[in-house]
Subunit: 318 residues, 2 copies
């Protein structure tokens, strides 16, 4: 294996570039803006330019670079082709081929950002020590990344671990972002938590510290719950029930070694784990009652680490 | 690779032994009884004895045998150890180590029978041409086998693809065999189909050819449905709805290349595919609407073929 590698996480606003040696040591990171205008045509040239100038400054030749792992916010086929990526303005783009060409043939592997983040959390984050895990990202929406034996599982259509779109409520009347109704994302995301809290605030006369807030946020709900606010606790309990039960059903499909909870909502910490695990254990097939739950720890760096690990591979895991 | 290999499927009543060459050609098969008395202590010696005498008759030495794949009706850890197998009377048995010892050190790989059957269907059955699939076994219960990139996914507790125990009905009052309530198995198995038909027969005055039968079976329900019997059609539709929706949720986790439906119920043929796929397509995340459905074709031979393929490996897939 050569001496260096890059882990690149392309986000809707910025591209995060990480530089590592092939022992897995993180050396340096920086960000450049994601220029989405004109169908995002500048994004890959900008990255290539930035990496080239970095290498030049460091006095490192392209021959010393083992490869480039890339995470993108859309479905990816064959670790290479993005078919459509609304967040970047792309239609079909062969990221691996194009970036490789701009970078003197350096090897490029591409995957969906949620999957790449899962790999990062497994390598250096909440999933450390495990080899198969499901990362559950609880943010504005609910996403996921499935890693099996140190490798990302993308699925036949790049849609594996799209767990936010498991249907959990057949009687929902409001549509999810995906156009269907009753998706997990509608209840377990930050948005879903706020919605549930507002419903409870409207439907019950119960006193709650949330009533005093100008804006109810998921964080405010968890903060109030930690203070013992009954209505906030009910909201958290509802979220835990919906998510815990869904993860139990997921265990009956993939039986992961560990669940890692990430995204903004997971910053509420152990309380999220506790409430999700409570309902998980009640529902799951007996053999999997003890599956551990962990919090993600890498935050926005998970993608950069995971992208690096795609190149490093499990043989060099440390 | 050496010249020959065995694929062994240990069932509750008989052990099916298959002999193949390492080009993947099936050469011969036979069965021996499964002797479950005394904690099933005779099962492995019986198999070893049978294989040895077979090799001797054929004038083939153990050195010419690449290995032995084995399917067992219970959870298996690390392709070797069965922790508890009620169907065979076993407590913890290291099948790979014990059989290997009895057979002059021949390499032995072990896996759960449903998983092994999935591998067989992928190699030589309904999943031919695919590399990632979910086998859904609709028999007395509902089982499954998950194959990813030509390899079985067993899960951390050997419970991956235990899809019969996904909860699909939170309001069920009758307990499943697993002790929980509302499992997929309670509706999509042959038993579940019969139960639903009986409920409909009791609850509605509707004329039905099923009323004339001494015993309602799943096969009779499908036969009547094919003749246009309204009550039977309702039963089939209900089964299709429950299973189709569950498979849609499973797609949002593993996004398989294909679903293969097997087990006794699948003998009803295209009608099962049609009704399941109808509800699947309505429910699934859009990217996966076109995931194909196939019927299993190997029947009771699937395990023998899959066990052989465990040894053969994807490099030698033909």
């Amino acid at each position: 294996m050569k001496k260096y590698l890059f882990g690149i996480d392309i986000g809707g606003t910025t591209v995060k570039c990480g530089f590592f040696d092939t022992k897995g040591t993180f050396l340096e990171s920086w960000e450049i803006p994601t220029r989405k205008e004109n169908g995002g045509e500048k994004i890959l040239p900008d990255i290539a330019e930035s990496l080239k100038s970095f290498l030049q400054k460091q006095g490192i030749s392209a021959e010393e670079v083992e490869g480039l792992g890339v995470g993108v916010p859309g479905p990816v086929l064959k670790q290479s082709v993005v078919e459509r990526c609304v967040n970047l303005g792309w239609s079909t783009v062969d990221v691996a081929a194009e970036l490789g060409k701009m970078l003197d043939g350096i090897r490029v592997l591409v995957n969906n950002d949620a999957n790449v983040a899962a790999l990062g959390e497994m390598w250096r984050g909440g999933g450390r020590g495990f080899h198969s895990m499901l990362l559950v990202t609880l943010g504005t929406g609910v996403g996921g990344g499935y890693v099996l034996e140190d490798k990302i599982v993308s699925g036949a259509h790049g849609a594996a671990a799209e767990i936010g779109h498991i249907t959990v409520n057949e009687r929902e009347s409001i549509a999810c972002n995906c156009g269907r109704k009753g998706c997990l994302e509608q209840y377990a995301s930050a948005t879903g938590i706020v919605r549930k809290a507002k419903e409870l605030l409207e439907d019950s006369p119960e006193e709650s510290s949330l009533r005093k807030l100008e804006e109810v946020t998921a964080k405010a709900v968890f903060d109030a719950a930690k203070e013992g606010d009954v209505l906030a606790l009910k909201t958290v309990d509802f979220m835990g029930k919906v998510l815990g039960r869904a993860l139990a059903d997921i265990s009956a499909v993939i039986d992961p070694e560990v669940f890692v909870l990430g995204g903004g909502v997971s910053r509420a910490g152990q309380m999220v784990i506790d409430v999700v695990q409570k309902y998980y254990a009640k529902r799951v097939f007996p053999a999997m009652t003890e599956t551990p739950f962990r919090l993600a720890v890498l935050g926005n760096d998970a993608g950069m680490y995971g992208a690096a690990f795609m190149i490093l591979g499990k043989e060099h895991r440390s």
